[in-house]
Symmetry: C2
Subunit: 345 residues, 2 copies
C-alpha cells in the first residue's frame, strides 16, 4: 500500500469546501445532496483520483464485499472451472472472490492457514473438501466450526454426510456405478479402476460404487483391476502399463475407468504404446470432461461434472441461504469414441 497525502476523505472534503459526511454521501450515491455540491465534490474526487479505502469501510460496515473459495489446486483445469464458475457469479453479484489453497491446510507447522481465513472476515466461504484424508478429518471439523462463527460456509465436492453445513455434493458412489452400468451394458466384464489415493474419502466413495455395481452384476472384485496412485497424466500412463505388464493377456481388462481425464489421457497413451486399439481392444473413460477430452485420439468419453455451475450455485447459496442442507450436484456421461461395446470374452 502506497501512502500519499491528499488521499483520504478529509483531504477531499477540505479541498471541496464541504464536510466529510457530504463527501461520504456523494461516494455512496445518496440523493440528499445539492446537485451543485455533488458536482463540486465529484470534481475534486476525479481530479485527485481518489478512491475510498475498502479497509476502512469494512471496519464500520459489517460486510467486506468479498468471498473466498478453498480449492486443492488450479493446475488441474477441473478446479479452474469450479473457480471460474464461482468467480463469475461472485463478480456478477458485486463481490470479489479470493482463492485459498487447500494444500496447506494439513500442514503441521503450527501455523494454520485456516486462521488466516478467519482473520479476513469474508462475507462467505466456499470450501471444497474433496480429496480429504480421514486422518486430518478432526482438524477439519474443528476448523469449520471455528470458521463458521466468523462467516457463512458452503461446502462443495465430495462431502462426508456427517458435516452439517450447507453443502452441494457429488454422490461419487452413484457416479461410479453409473459408469459401470454403462460399461456392463456394453458387455464389458473385466473393468479396471485407475487412480486416486486409497485413504481419500471421495475415492472410497467411488470404490464403493464400483464394488456395488460388480456385485449387482455378479462379477468378482479383482484386486489387480484396482490400482491406486496419483491423479496425474504421468501416473495414469504408469499405472496402466504396470497393470497390463503384471497380467496375462487373457486377463487384460476390456475397459478402464480413470479417476479423471488427466489419468485417462495417460492411460490412452499407455494403451497405444502397448499396441492396443481404443476402443476396439480397450475402452477408456475419464472424468471431469476437460477441454481437451474431445480432442484426444480417439476423443475421450468422460463425465461432465458441471463444474462451473457447481461454483456458481455455491456462490448463490452463500448469498441467499435457503433451508436445505445437502443438495446434489449434477453430472452426466459424455459418450465419445474411446468407449464402445466389446466383443472380447
Amino acid at each position: 500500500m502506497v501512502k500519499e497525502k491528499g488521499k483520504n476523505i478529509y483531504d477531499i472534503a477540505s479541498e471541496a469546501g464541504v464536510s466529510i459526511a457530504t463527501v461520504s454521501r456523494v461516494l455512496r450515491g445518496e440523493t440528499s445532496v445539492l446537485p451543485e455540491t455533488r458536482r463540486k465534490v465529484e470534481d475534486v474526487i476525479a481530479k485527485r483520483g481518489y478512491r475510498p479505502s475498502a479497509i476502512a469501510r469494512g471496519l464500520t460496515q459489517k460486510h467486506t464485499n468479498s468471498l473466498g473459495i478453498v480449492l486443492p489446486k488450479l493446475t488441474n483445469p477441473n478446479y479452474a472451472m469450479i473457480f471460474t464458475g464461482a468467480y463469475d457469479e461472485a463478480t456478477r453479484e458485486g463481490y470479489v472472490m479470493s482463492l485459498f489453497p487447500w494444500k496447506s491446510m494439513d500442514l503441521k507447522t503450527g501455523y494454520d492457514p485456516m486462521e488466516v481465513l478467519a482473520e479476513r472476515r469474508l462475507d462467505g466461504l466456499i470450501m471444497c473438501v474433496e480429496y480429504q484424508k480421514k486422518e486430518s478429518y478432526d482438524h477439519l471439523t474443528a476448523s469449520l466450526e471455528n470458521l463458521s462463527r466468523y462467516m457463512p460456509l458452503v461446502l462443495i465436492g465430495c462431502v462426508p454426510s456427517e458435516l452439517d453445513y450447507p453443502t452441494i455434493t457429488y454422490d461419487m458412489s452413484l457416479c461410479a456405478s453409473g459408469v459401470m452400468e454403462y460399461l456392463l451394458e456394453m458387455n464389458h466384464t473385466r473393468i479396471a479402476l485407475l487412480g486416486g489415493m486409497k485413504e481419500d474419502m471421495g475415492v472410497m466413495s467411488r470404490d464403493a460404487g464400483y464394488r456395488a455395481a460388480l456385485e449387482k452384476a455378479k462379477l468378482p472384485y479383482i484386486s489387480s483391476y484396482r490400482v491406486y496412485g496419483d491423479s496425474t497424466t504421468r501416473a495414469g500412463e504408469q499405472m496402466l502399463t504396470e497393470m497390463l505388464d503384471g497380467l496375462q493377456r487373457a486377463y487384460w481388462p476390456t475397459a478402464v475407468i480413470a479417476l479423471n481425464d488427466l489419468v485417462a489421457l495417460g492411460a490412452l497413451k499407455a494403451a497405444r504404446e502397448m499396441g492396443l486399439r481404443v476402443p476396439e481392444d480397450i475402452s477408456i473413460i475419464g472424468c471431469d470432461d476437460l477441454f481437451c477430452a474431445p480432442y484426444s485420439e480417439p476423443p475421450l468419453t468422460s463425465i461432465n461434472m458441471h463444474q462451473q455451475e457447481l461454483g456458481a450455485r455455491a456462490v448463490r447459496r452463500l448469498l441467499r441461504p435457503d433451508d436445505k442442507t445437502r443438495e446434489l450436484a449434477a453430472w452426466n456421461i459424455v459418450k465419445r469414441q474411446s468407449s464402445a461395446p466389446t466383443e472380447i470374452v
Copy 2:
C-alpha cells in the same frame, strides 16, 4: 461476516483480566509479556476461538498482506499456470493472493473494476496486459497511473514498451521468428500462422516476427497462410479446415504455427480429418506447452513459456523492487513428434 459478541480484543482482554495492549502484544508475539500473563491470554484466545480482524489491523498498519493479480481468464490453463506460480510464491512470502478479471476492464458500463482494485489497498498488483487491444489502450494507461498511486505495480505478458512500469515481458516477435527458424531449418517453406485477433498487440508482435523471418529467408508473405480468429480449440479446427478448403492441394502449407496449444489441438484434429498425416504431411506447433501437449496424437511440439516461473518472478519483483524496469521472460521450444523435416516441395 457473522457478528458475534465476545469477538473483539476488548472481550478477550476483560475475560483475561488484562488490557487490550497486552492482548495485542500476545497476538503479535512480542516478548515483553510475563510468561504467566501470556498463558492466561492465550488460554482465553483458544477457548473463544478468537482471531483478530485483518480489516482493523489493515487500517492502523500501512499494509494488508495481500497481493492481487489481473489475468484474462483461468479456463485457459496457461493463465492458471501463471496464477499458480504467483500464488504459491505469494503464499510462501506470507501474502494472500487475489485474482481479478481482465475481461471486465473494457466494460463500458460506467462502473470500472479498476476502481474496485484501488479501493482494496493491496500491497501490490501484478497486471497481465496480454491481449490488449489498441483502442482500450488510453483507458489502460490512465488506470495504471491511478492505480500506481495506491500500490506498486508489476506488468507481465506482452507489454508495450511505452508502458513505464516494472515489467517482465515476452518478446513475442523474437519467439515467433525463433519458431520460424526452427521450421525453415527443416526445409519448410509454406508456413501458416493460425489464430489471434488482428488488433491484439501481442498478436501484432508475433506477426512482425513471422514476417521478419519470411523476409530474411527471402520467402513471400502469403496472406492466405495467415488466419486470424479466436484462440480456442474449436476455432483452431475451423481455421485450418477453412484454410485448406480454400487452397489448391499444391499450395497447402507444410507447417502450421498455432497461437497456442488450444488452437494447435484443434488444428491437429482438422489435419487428421482432412486425411493429413502429422508430421509427415504437415507439422503443427503450439504455444504454452500445456499439460496435455505431450499426450496428444502425435505429441505436440510447443513453446514452454515458463509460466509458473513468470508468476513467481512477478511476485518477488513486487515484494523486492529493483532498479531494472523491463526484464525478459524465458521461453524455449519443446520438440515433440508433431513437427519434423519436410520432403514436400
